[in-house]
Symmetry: C2
Subunit: 352 residues, 2 copies
Amino acid sequence: MSAPTVYDVAARAQVSIATVSRVYRNPDTVRATTRERVLAVARELGYVPSGNARGLASRTTGVLGLCFPDYADPEVDNPGDGSDDAADDPEHMLYADEITRGMERAARRHGYALLIAASLEGGPESLVAKVAGRVDGFAVLARTVPTEDLEIIAHRLPIVMIAGPREIDHLDHLQVANDEGEYELTRHLIDDHGLTRLAFISGGEDSPDAAARFRGFQRALGDAGLPVPAEPATRGNFTQADGRAAAERLLDAGGAVPQALVCANDQMAVGALQTLERRGIRVPEDVAVVGFDGIPLGRVVRPSLTTVSQPMRRLGETAVDLLVERLRDPDRQPRSVMLPVNQTRRTSCGCP
Amino acid sequence: MSAPTVYDVAARAQVSIATVSRVYRNPDTVRATTRERVLAVARELGYVPSGNARGLASRTTGVLGLCFPDYADPEVDNPGDGSDDAADDPEHMLYADEITRGMERAARRHGYALLIAASLEGGPESLVAKVAGRVDGFAVLARTVPTEDLEIIAHRLPIVMIAGPREIDHLDHLQVANDEGEYELTRHLIDDHGLTRLAFISGGEDSPDAAARFRGFQRALGDAGLPVPAEPATRGNFTQADGRAAAERLLDAGGAVPQALVCANDQMAVGALQTLERRGIRVPEDVAVVGFDGIPLGRVVRPSLTTVSQPMRRLGETAVDLLVERLRDPDRQPRSVMLPVNQTRRTSCGCP
DNA sequence: GCGCATAGTGTATGCGCTTACAGGGAGCGC
DNA sequence: GCGCTCCCTGTAAGCGCATACACTATGCGC
């Protein structure tokens, strides 16, 4: 029951394989009656062109790849508890989903399909290589592929890095205005709400995004004439649980409780809200809390979360655009695009 | 700058192309020193094996495909408003995401990558064909591919249908216990909370899932000796907005207000909660509200939503398992798997 | 009637890899 | 020393399609 090929169809339809191929590639160059005959046979036989053969012959796959981090399989899904833990998943899950969706959509618009691959280890037979060999272009979420491998792959196909540092400067690069966004948000707290004791809850040390956001935070304090901390008040790893813990630490640290908790992402901000509620501290009356990302969750929590919204889906779309551009013009100068972010003012900062 | 091939590597490393190939496919069959030499050259040249050529020669791609509906591009993303509308997206977005994630993970475990393609039209050069030609197996979310095309593709590779009706009975089929789940939930409202006037807010007419859930609802009423409605009280299209509107209609319909709104999915249930809150109707004191799906959102809304949790991620994982099974044993009998669902009792039904 | 363009089709080659199969050399028992 | 493995490597034949090129049949102007 091996799948039928052009040869089978050609024989059955009494034409050459070239004609069969043309029916699919350039229907106009085949006489209408012939075309119909071929298509009829193809249907009858259940013929589906082999993407591999096509790709090999035409040197293009029509597929774009996306590589994002694997949020370390916490545990095998617990069917008992349903998806009740989903809200506790790291930011990246939601984040990566949005990007995937944006890419998928944009790719389709351009006639491409999307091949996704979470986290891949190195080695000759790694998924990277497997995936890289089957796509026309590749989008990589910061830090998911070793720089060394990237260098190799970049020889072969266009790559665009999303977020993270620009590790390799001859690649296209895409990021959001982390610094700017956090700056604006912080100024809002200072200028519009008159707050002066702000604490920054950062992400992991190796997160360039968190670092950029902290810089924006610092800059805002500096520009407002407030003392500028050299380090974040504390750190977490982007999860709600980390946010809860971070808030605990800050409250227990002694000294004056901050007037505002500026969190490196929304998940941690939501965690902080939980801690504050548990301790009977009112938000925003006693302490303001703000996040970063603009995940849907921030909209439904109480108080609703003031944050900086990232255009996550556009990130994916722009990545595709960059890839397509480069596929059309391989010698184009590498581009570095920064997408603007958006202030989303809800109630957790003190706005009505 | 055309990409290097086995030939380039072979020449440079003074071996035959067969040896280069073996270094990647069966490293053990190549002498260690030779292997290192080849790998060094490969690195130096930036060699990445062509997936197409590989696939063509070995007749397998190492890729599984997933096809889900395209939630009709509502509007181009409004960068101004950030992702604040995300919560209003149709259920399917979240749903498909979870399945994607489950499949991605399971696929990776089995050594496959995932090719995703939303909604595809027919025609010889459609995305279906493009995608179908490059995967080893294919999971299809109900109703996304015309049955006719499915028949053709099924000739060539394993297909598993997820949710929806079993259109083609020689395909593997996967669904959740919609009927059962809704039955249990409804009995809970009746037996444990003593409610007797229940209204069902259904999904689109063409949704087999919504239909199955309604059947469960009917059956529960019947078994409890209550009058059984022939039709749902009203319908929506699975979005929050639809849920709000549906609740409005029910409240404005005159006659006795129902004691419980049983919604075909969580998004609509959340919408209903919003309407009730706006009108000052207390949940669950005045009216109970329950959903179906178990999306994270239901956990954070107030009151938190009682629902039936689907094992969405497991759906994806099981789909992969079925595909892998069938790839191993093409002649296996078609299987139809029904995954159990889970009652998630929170506060919107009246539980403490 | 001839040359010539045009439309439609066939022939033949190559895309880059996998994988039987066929060697050649080394080690081993006898 | 011979034959026999075993290990390693090379040779060569595809895998299924796209496509340049060659070819035939037609229609046209002259």
